[in-house]
Symmetry: C2
Subunit: 374 residues, 2 copies
């Protein structure tokens, strides 16, 4: 039971069935190159976050453009990446179910594998899984960086947990995860920089505590699209986990760069290709996609390439457009290109992403890690 | 590439992998029976909305419990339902793409098929699809009932469009779609009743205009979980399109019944089965599911069966719980059962739903119509 495929290579964009998720390849490749250049000469390499796209073909392109491997959030994503040919996966999450850990450890025959820990109670579970699989599992300790999410407090608690991990059969304490999620979306570059400077202090405090017990490691991983220059320039981070940089979305379009102007380091490359299916009254149009094709968790999508037209609401099955006085009228059958509100949960709604170069479909990639994640 | 299946029949609920969507079968079956009894002796039969669950096994259970067939919102959902054995499908949406219409008309060899129209410009497209498939396609006119969604204005505009449809080769004007979506979620039964009484006037006005040109038809379809007693009792509606009634969610849990008390006609039967994966500080716990396993478009999920614990936030990958002073502490590995915020977009995130009776898995159903919908 293969999911419906909205296009085949070679067809025109105008012939792609809707609602389809599309990548404009020129912009996508430019984003990969921009990130590669941005990290060149620094201490940090990209470990692109595959939770953003869940697509092994995209991961392979990121790796071709210099990424050391990928992060995943779920073992099922990791399995899809490894099946697709990725050779280095860090699961940036607490995995504690023995069956999930068994599946994760089994991937080690084809890939480098690592996972996080933030709780002494789960160390024996990780150890048993590694021993059962006859591997040494790399475990990073997640630091709580101030966002009140998962992680242990910086300094001594990090060192205590690291020592426990490293002493356990089958486990190797490998480094630190220090990712500040909420910093990524703060409006000004200064706000983001201040959040990360506080994160850097927490990393330094932790590394000092680790050094005191002989467990300081080089591997420090974290950083996202909105903040990564600060982590990169710190000299502390060896990896940047950005994911959205390759695509961008309406939420990231709200942040500002260093100059106080809209953040233009990366281009929008991800779009939702839709069709007007109803124009019931003047000034309104309804598209053939709602919550099941794009996620409004971080705000509504925006309209690309149409002056005076804005997204005015979203329901289960429709997106409502409002046409300003100067907008060109829309008719049923017209195509509309949206910029999704949020990359990650939108990719997760689709089974395929259609790769478009100019006006022609170049490829159609399966979103092979799609799903709630097991 | 089959998606991961979180359980097999016969295993204990405690052994189901998380995050899994589960149906408690006793409550589900009671909801089906409650609806069957509620419609018994009325003019209206159930046409359960499969956009809610996108699962042909669920549709078949609804049909066993008296439903005339299903509604779908997408041709791909209709195709999944027909492949699963459903013999009567109404697509309650404007389908205007020739390829989608060709696929819809092809289903007519195995099922009754009907579709909506709200625009004279699309009538020739519907006609061509029906003629190409050598079928007569039943077309209902959608009335704009006051929610400012799709549909034509009641009265003359409905009759004008109906005449155009009925005169077209391959098409049969079959009846009226009059569904008031926003009425379903108004808090009091009185507010919902007032919205629907206004809808009933629009249906009557339209039927009078149709009768004047000899095109009055019996088939009137619409009504949802929150409002259906009013449509049922009107004598005008022949079908009720409720979908959520079989499952319920945290959003519907906010509405009140006729007595001003919480609406208890139907029971919660749909849950998200999750695991605590991090307890980084007192009073907090993090679950292994976020936006990719339940949708917060209509508000957050709630916690079932745990006193003093509430959902305090949801991110891409986690759901954050807040524990009150009197709550029993949670540890990593503990299972938590959530009531999803909104049935429809949550089903759409999952590939399987696990059917549980008591503490044992009875069956695992594929959500075979899942996806953005083509």
């Amino acid at each position: 039971m293969h999911p419906f495929r909205p296009a085949e290579p070679g067809v025109k964009l105008s012939d792609v069935e809707t609602p389809a998720l599309i990548i404009e390849m020129n912009a996508f490749e430019q984003n990969l190159e921009t990130m590669e250049k941005a990290l060149a000469g620094s201490n940090a390499r990209l470990r692109g976050h595959a939770k953003a796209h869940k697509c092994s073909n995209i991961a392979l392109r990121q790796i071709e453009a210099g990424a050391v491997g990928v992060c995943c959030q779920k073992v099922s994503e990791a399995a899809a990446m490894v099946a697709g040919g990725v050779k280095n996966v860090l699961v940036t999450n607490q995995i504690i179910a023995p069956r999930k850990l068994a599946r994760l450890c089994a991937l080690a025959k084809d890939s480098e594998i690592a996972v996080l820990c933030d709780d002494a109670a789960t160390v024996p579970i990780l150890s048993k899984a590694a021993r059962d699989a006859a591997i040494t599992l790399n475990v990073l300790v997640e630091i709580e960086v101030g966002a009140e999410r998962c992680g242990v407090d910086p300094g001594e608690p990090v060192a205590t947990l690291a020592r426990l991990i490293d002493a356990e059969d089958g486990l190797h304490f490998a480094g630190l995860q220090a990712y500040h999620g909420s910093a990524q979306h703060k409006t000004t570059a200064e706000e983001r920089r201040l959040d990360i400077e506080s994160t850097l202090e927490k990393v330094k405090t932790s590394k000092r505590a680790l050094a005191a017990i002989g467990l300081d490691r080089d591997w420090v991983t974290g950083a996202g699209t909105g903040s990564f220059p600060t982590e990169r320039d710190s000299g502390l981070y060896t990896e940047v986990q950005a994911g959205s940089y390759a695509f961008m979305d309406a939420d990231y379009a709200k942040i500002l760069g260093n100059d106080g102007m809209p953040f233009k380091t990366f281009r929008h490359s991800l779009f939702l290709w839709t069709t007007v299916i109803s124009v019931p009254r003047p000034g309104q149009a309804f598209l053939d996609v709602g919550h099941k094709g794009h996620s409004k968790d971080s705000g509504l999508a925006t309209v690309a390439d149409l002056d005076g037209v804005e997204v005015d609401g979203q329901s289960d099955e429709h997106t409502k457009l409002k046409l300003g006085h100067n907008a060109k009228p829309l008719s049923t059958g017209d195509k509309v290109k949206l910029i999704p509100g949020h990359v990650d949960p939108t990719f997760n709604l689709h089974d395929w992403v259609v790769c478009v170069r100019g006006e022609t479909v170049e490829d159609v990639w399966r979103i092979d890690g799609r799903g709630p994640g097991f």
